[in-house]
């Protein structure tokens, strides 16, 4: 067989392998909950992913075995060539799934309505160290209670917008710090972030300096526990999916269930293989809250956070496990939103 004929057959098989692999990744993403590989928006039912995957496998099969019979029934590639083209197809389809999933994520996030609404107003806050957004209630009941929200390094401001809006709607001001910059997480400098934010809130005349709470997400939850233990002024804390132990920070497939591939790369760099979690030592600092109210919330499907038991928490702390929720989307979950807002209304 001529070289160019072999090349043609190889290319045709590569195209076939690419689309079949794309279908394979979609079925795998649905079956294993690997949202970082899904070409459908977050929240789409698994059966749609299965359907998409099945279609992506069946259609190329019909094309390849139905319309390319001449190629299929001529001397095929040797084992090594077959493996090469199949591996290339698998890898290219994997890359397409990762990039496609990122694009779908960005588009769906952009589609979310974050415009001003009649229940709160927003102010941009900028200090020498960090930037953030202050969500203020519109009622006249000043000074308002205030909560400082610290997202994890992979959470964008918009991802905790629901929480901040929910608090502002119930007359609690919320300052969301943008923690996406890697430099902000450098230890021990990171310990200064929350005290600075509290200092900022104290200076504002419209916020009640005696009723300040903290809410953290992921590594941000570890940070707020540590900050609250060192600052007796903090009246109440909510920790959403704290990491607590360095073993929670392991590279591997589980990360792709909870975040996009790019976020997983950033996650690993910021967490420094668990070193930062050990340095923050939230579990050891928890008793330092001295009975002040602490709500620890974990998602039942969170593959990263360790399973926390009520017995391991200090007095005054309460544990809430929300079934069917993973780390991703934790801050947007309506049950978690109402629990967190309710916690601050009752304990601040």
């Amino acid at each position: 067989m001529e070289f160019h004929e072999q090349l043609t057959i190889g290319f045709v098989f590569f195209v076939f392998a690419f689309f079949v692999s794309l279908g394979f990744w979609q079925i795998l993403a649905a079956h294993q909950g690997l949202s970082a590989l899904s070409l459908l928006p977050q929240g789409a039912k698994a059966r749609w992913s299965h359907l998409l995957g099945a279609a992506l496998i069946l259609l190329p099969c019909v094309w390849f075995f139905g319309a390319r019979t001449e190629d299929v029934f001529s001397p095929g590639p040797a084992s090594s060539e077959f493996l090469f083209f199949l591996s290339m197809g698998l890898l290219c389809a994997l890359g397409t799934s990762i990039v496609g999933s990122l694009v779908v994520d960005r588009v769906s996030l952009r589609g979310e309505d974050r415009s001003e609404n009649p229940y709160h107003r927003r102010e941009a806050v900028s200090t020498s160290r960090w930037q953030g957004t202050l969500y203020l209630p519109v009622s006249d009941s000043q000074p308002w209670r205030a909560v400082c929200i610290v997202p994890g390094p992979t959470e964008r401001l918009e991802s905790v917008g629901n929480l901040a809006e929910g608090l502002a709607r119930r007359d609690v001001a919320a300052l969301v710090i943008d923690m996406t910059k890697r430099d902000l997480w450098r230890y021990p400098d990171v310990l200064a972030t929350v005290p600075q934010a509290i200092g900022y809130m104290e200076k504002r005349g419209d916020l009640d300096r005696r009723r300040i709470g903290l809410l953290g997400v992921g590594l941000g939850a570890d940070l707020v526990i540590r900050a609250a233990a060192s600052d007796r002024q903090v009246g109440s804390v909510v920790a959403l999916s704290p990491l607590l132990t360095a073993s929670s920070v392991q590279p591997g497939l589980d990360l792709l269930r909870e975040m996009s591939y790019i976020e997983a790369l950033r996650w690993r760099r910021v967490h420094q293989g668990g070193q930062l979690v050990s340095q923050l030592a939230a579990l050891e600092y928890m008793p330092g809250l001295d009975g002040r109210p602490l709500l620890v919330v974990s998602g039942g499907m969170d593959r990263l956070a360790p399973r926390v038991e009520q017995e391991t928490l200090p007095p005054g702390a309460q544990l809430k496990l929300v079934k069917g929720v993973g780390r991703r989307g934790l801050a947007q979950d309506s049950e978690i939103l109402s629990s967190s807002v309710g916690w601050f209304l009752n304990h601040l």
Partner: protein, 192 residues
């Protein structure tokens, strides 16, 4: 070889008589369908498992499958160097539904690969072993049906595949460093 030829004539004699069956066999006999399906099943095994430990055990099985397939290929090549058996279409009238391969008929490389996968699949998970075994068996049967192998070639190829899987299964401790390195590499890429 009498029984072998009789069996071959019995199976290959059906070819070209039932068009849908011919279509199915042509789908199974080619160099792409079953090997792609087996590779994707192995890839699915790599990613399955309720937790890290279960996944790591599956990933070890996948690495073993790759090694067993390589070993089966080497054994088939060695057999070909020692003994050449002409293809059925070279020595008798057959209903040929495939192209004319030029290498030795015995042992069947296709069956060796299929059963090497199946052997390791069986060691890890009985159901997976059955699925892979059925695919390997159909692959081999289609080769006889389409006139490119005698039944004995398939049996010999299947034995080579099962033997390769058995050897690799017994040599797990030797493969451990390779397995650990590949799994660690996969984890660094978030793919294990």
């Amino acid at each position: 070889m009498g029984l072998d030829t009789t069996l071959f004539n019995l199976i290959n004699g059906v070819a070209t008589r039932v068009a849908p069956l011919d279509g199915l066999m042509r789908l199974l006999v080619n160099d792409y369908f079953v090997p792609t399906a087996l590779c994707l099943l192995a890839a699915a095994l790599w990613f399955s498992g309720a937790n890290r430990d279960a996944r790591a055990a599956n990933q070890r099985a996948v690495v073993s499958m790759v090694v067993a397939v390589l070993l089966a290929n080497v054994l088939v090549k060695l057999c070909n160097l020692l003994y050449f058996r002409p293809r059925p279409f070279s020595v008798q009238e057959v209903n040929l539904l495939f192209y004319r391969p030029s290498d030795s008929s015995l042992p069947s490389n296709a069956a060796a690969v299929g059963f090497a996968f199946a052997g390791l699949g069986w060691q890890r998970d009985r159901r997976l072993g059955v699925v892979m075994g059925v695919l390997g068996g159909l692959f081999g049967f289609a080769r006889v049906y389409c006139g490119v192998h005698y039944p004995l070639d398939i049996v010999a190829g299947g034995l080579v595949g099962v033997f390769s899987a058995w050897v690799v299964g017994k040599a797990q401790s030797l493969l451990e460093p390779l397995m650990l390195a590949l799994i660690a590499f996969g984890r660094r890429l978030y793919l294990a």
